[in-house]
C-alpha cells in the first residue's frame, strides 16, 4: 500500500514537470496526424486501411534483410534532422527561420559545385564540399539576419523572398556552370565528393546510409552545448527573448541576431550538402522550392526546439518516409499520405498551447482521482 502511494507520488512529480506536458502535446499532435491519415485511408479504401497504417508505423522494419529499411530510415532522417535543427536553433533565439529551404538550396549548389569541380582535393574532397555548403548556407541565412538587425525587417517576410531568390539564382547558376545538358539537370558530384559509408555499409548492407548521420549527431551535440552551456548561447537566447533588455545589459544585439541567423543558415546549408553529395540524386532546374526546409519546421516543433528532441523527431520522420515508400508496395495508397500526415501534425503543433492546456487539465484531473484512491486505500 505504501508502494502504491509512492508510485502515485512519482507519477504526480513526473506529470507536474512542464516538459512532460509539452512532450505529451507533441505526442498528441503525432497521434492526431496519424489518425487523420488513417481516416483518409479508411475513406479511400477501407479494406486496406489497417494494412496501410501498419505499413506506415512499421516502415523501418519492412525489409530487415541486412537491415536495409532501417538503414534507409536513417538516410531519409538525416537531412530532416538538420533542417529541423536549423529551424530549432533559430526558434530558441527568438527567430522564425522559414528560409531554411533557400539556405539549403544555396548550400546544396555550392557543395555540388565543389563536388563536381575540385576533384584535386582527393580524400579531403567531401569534407571541403560539406564545409562549402555550410558557409554558403550561413551567408544566405545572415541576409535576413542583417535586414532584421539593421533595417528592422521581419525575418519571415525577408526569408520568403530569399527562398525564391535562392531558387532562381541556383537554377541560373546550374545552367551556367554544372549543367548536364543531356538530362537537363545538374551534374553528379565526383565519387570522392560523395559522403562515404565507412562501416555503416557493413552494418546496414544494401541501404543508402552514409556518414551523414554522424555529421547530424555532431551538430546536435554542438548546438546543444552552444545553447545550454555557453555564454554565447545565453546571449543569443537573451536577445531573442528581449532585444532591448539585452542591449541594456551590454550585449551586442545586432551582432547576435546576425550570428543566430548565420548559424541556423549554416546548418541548413549542411543539410543541402548531405542531400546531394550522394549517388543517384541530382539538383533539378525545375524551380521547385525544396520541401525539406518546411518539413524542418514540423520537426523542430515536434522536438520542442531542443536539439536532442529534434534528433528523435527527425528519426520519426525518417520512419514515416520509409513507411510511405513501402506503403506503395503493400497497398494501393500513394505516398502523399505521408505529407498529409506531416501537414496535420504541423497544424496541431500550432495548436500546441491548447493541447498543453488540455493535457495539463487531463493530468490534474486524473491525479486528483488517483490520490483520492490511494489515500482511501491507506485508510483501509
Amino acid at each position: 500500500m505504501k508502494l502504491k502511494t509512492l508510485g502515485s507520488q512519482i507519477v504526480k512529480k513526473v506529470a507536474e514537470r512542464p516538459s512532460t506536458i509539452s512532450v505529451s502535446a507533441s505526442v498528441l499532435a503525432i497521434i492526431a496526424g496519424l489518425f487523420v491519415g488513417f481516416i483518409v485511408m479508411l475513406i479511400i479504401n477501407p479494406g486496406q486501411a489497417f494494412a496501410g497504417l501498419r505499413s506506415i508505423l512499421f516502415g523501418p522494419f519492412s525489409d530487415m534483410e541486412g537491415g536495409r529499411s532501417l538503414g534507409n530510415t536513417i538516410y531519409y532522417a538525416v537531412p530532416i534532422i538538420l533542417t529541423g535543427l536549423s529551424v530549432a536553433f533559430a526558434f530558441r533565439t527568438g527567430l522564425f527561420n522559414i528560409g531554411a529551404t533557400g539556405q539549403l538550396t544555396i548550400g546544396a549548389f555550392v557543395a555540388v559545385y565543389i563536388g563536381v569541380n575540385w576533384a584535386f582535393l582527393g580524400p579531403l574532397h567531401w569534407i571541403v564540399a560539406v564545409l562549402g555548403g555550410m558557409l554558403a548556407g550561413a551567408f544566405w541565412g545572415s541576409i535576413p539576419g542583417i535586414l532584421k538587425a539593421y533595417r528592422n525587417v521581419h525575418e519571415v517576410v525577408s526569408s520568403i523572398m530569399l527562398n525564391y531568390i535562392a531558387m532562381y539564382t541556383v537554377t541560373m547558376l546550374i545552367k551556367q556552370t554544372i549543367f548536364n545538358a543531356t538530362s537537363a539537370r545538374a551534374l553528379a558530384p565526383e565519387t570522392t565528393a560523395r559522403l562515404p559509408q565507412w562501416f555503416l555499409g557493413d552494418v546496414f548492407p544494401r541501404s543508402s546510409i552514409n556518414i551523414g548521420i554522424f555529421i547530424a549527431m555532431i551538430l546536435v551535440v554542438i548546438t546543444h552545448i552552444i545553447l545550454n552551456k555557453t555564454t554565447f548561447g545565453y546571449e543569443l537566447k537573451s536577445v531573442g527573448f528581449n532585444r532591448d533588455a539585452s542591449q541594456y545589459a551590454g550585449m551586442s544585439e545586432k551582432r547576435n541576431i546576425i550570428l543566430a541567423m548565420a548559424i541556423s543558415g549554416g546548418i541548413a546549408g549542411v543539410a543541402g550538402a548531405v542531400m546531394f553529395l550522394v549517388t543517384g540524386r541530382f539538383m533539378s532546374i525545375e524551380n521547385h522550392l525544396m520541401a525539406e526546409g518546411f518539413t524542418g519546421i514540423a520537426i523542430s516543433l515536434l522536438g520542442l526546439s531542443s536539439p536532442i528532441g529534434v534528433f528523435l523527431a527527425g528519426l520519426f520522420y525518417g520512419a514515416l518516409e520509409i513507411g510511405g515508400f513501402y506503403l506503395q508496395r503493400t497497398t494501393n495508397f500513394v505516398p502523399q499520405i505521408i505529407e498529409i500526415i506531416i501537414a496535420v501534425i504541423i497544424y496541431f503543433s500550432a495548436l500546441s498551447l491548447f493541447l498543453q492546456k488540455f493535457v495539463a487539465n487531463f493530468l490534474s484531473k486524473r491525479l486528483k482521482k488517483e490520490v483520492q484512491i490511494s489515500e482511501g486505500s491507506d485508510v483501509l
Binding site: 533595417r151 520541401a291 518546411f294 502523399q336
Partner: protein, 323 residues
Amino acid sequence: MRELIDLIYFLFPLFIATTVPLSIVALGGLFSERSGVVNIALEGIMIMGGFIGIIAMRALIENTELNLQIIAFIGLFTGATFGMLYALAHAFASITMKSNQIISATALNMFAPAMSVFIARTFWNTSNLNLMGNYTISKVPILGDIPIVGQLFFTNAYLSTYIGIIIFIVATAVLYKTRLGLRIRSCGENPHAADSLGVNIYRVRYIGVLISGALAGMGGVIFVLSFATRFSGSVAGFGFLALAVLIFGQWHPKKIIFAALFFATMRVIADTYSVIPGLNMIVMPREIYRMLPYIATLVVLSFASKRSRAPRAVGEPYDPSKR
C-alpha cells in the same frame, strides 16, 4: 510598326492574365492582414481552391452540355467557396486558438499540394489533371468592335479577367466605403480601441480571413484557367508572389494594382523575352527577371520599414487583457 502592334496584341493578354490573379490574391491577403491576421497561406489556399474548382469543371464538362463560360463561372465560384472553407482552418487556429499564425499557415501550405496530388493519383492515377476546352472569349459583342481598345481588352479575353476586375473594385469599395471595411481596418490597427467601441474583434477577423480565402481560392482557379491546361498540385509560387505584391503595394489597393502590374511585366518578360525584338539583345538569363520582383520587395522592405504601412496589430492574437 505593324510588327510592334502585333507584338503588343500578343503580349497584352498575357500581361492581363498575370496581373488579374496576382492582384485578386494580393487583395485577399489585404483583407486578412488588415484585420490583423498574417496570411502566408495564400499559396496553399490557391492550390486548394484551384484543385476543387478544376475537379468541378471537369465533372461538368464530362456530364453536361453547358456553355464553357458558364462552366468557368461555376468553377470560379466553387474555388472561392472551398478556398473560404479551407481558410476557416487558418482562422480557427489563429483567432480562436490564438496559435502562431505562421505555423498554422505553413501547415495549410503543405496540406493543399499533398492532398490534391493524393486525390488526383488515387482517383485518376495521375498527378496532372487535364482541363479540356478553350476558355477565351473570342470577341465581346459591340465592345470588341471599338478600335485598339476593343482589340486589346475585348478580344481573346478571359471571363475571369472581367470578373476579377469587378471583384477588385467591389472589394476595394467594401474596405474603404462600408462599416465592415472600417471595422476590418480598425481591428488590424488597434483592436483594443475597436473592442472598447463594441466591435467583436474575433468575428471581424474571421470575416477578414474568410474573404481572403474566397479571393485566394478564386485566384487559384483563375491561375489554372489562364496559364495551364492542366493542374498538377501547384500554382508555381503565385501565392507567395501575391504576398510580395501585397507588401510591395504597402497594404493599399491602389498601390497593389501598380505592384501587380510591375510584377506581371517582369513575369511576362521572363517568359517571352526570347521573342521580343528589343529585349533579346540584352543577354540576361530569364531567372533574373523572375527574381526581380522578390528583390524589389526586399529593397522596399529594407528602405521603407521605418515608414512601413503594415497594419500595426498584424500577427498578434487578440488578448483583451493586454491593454
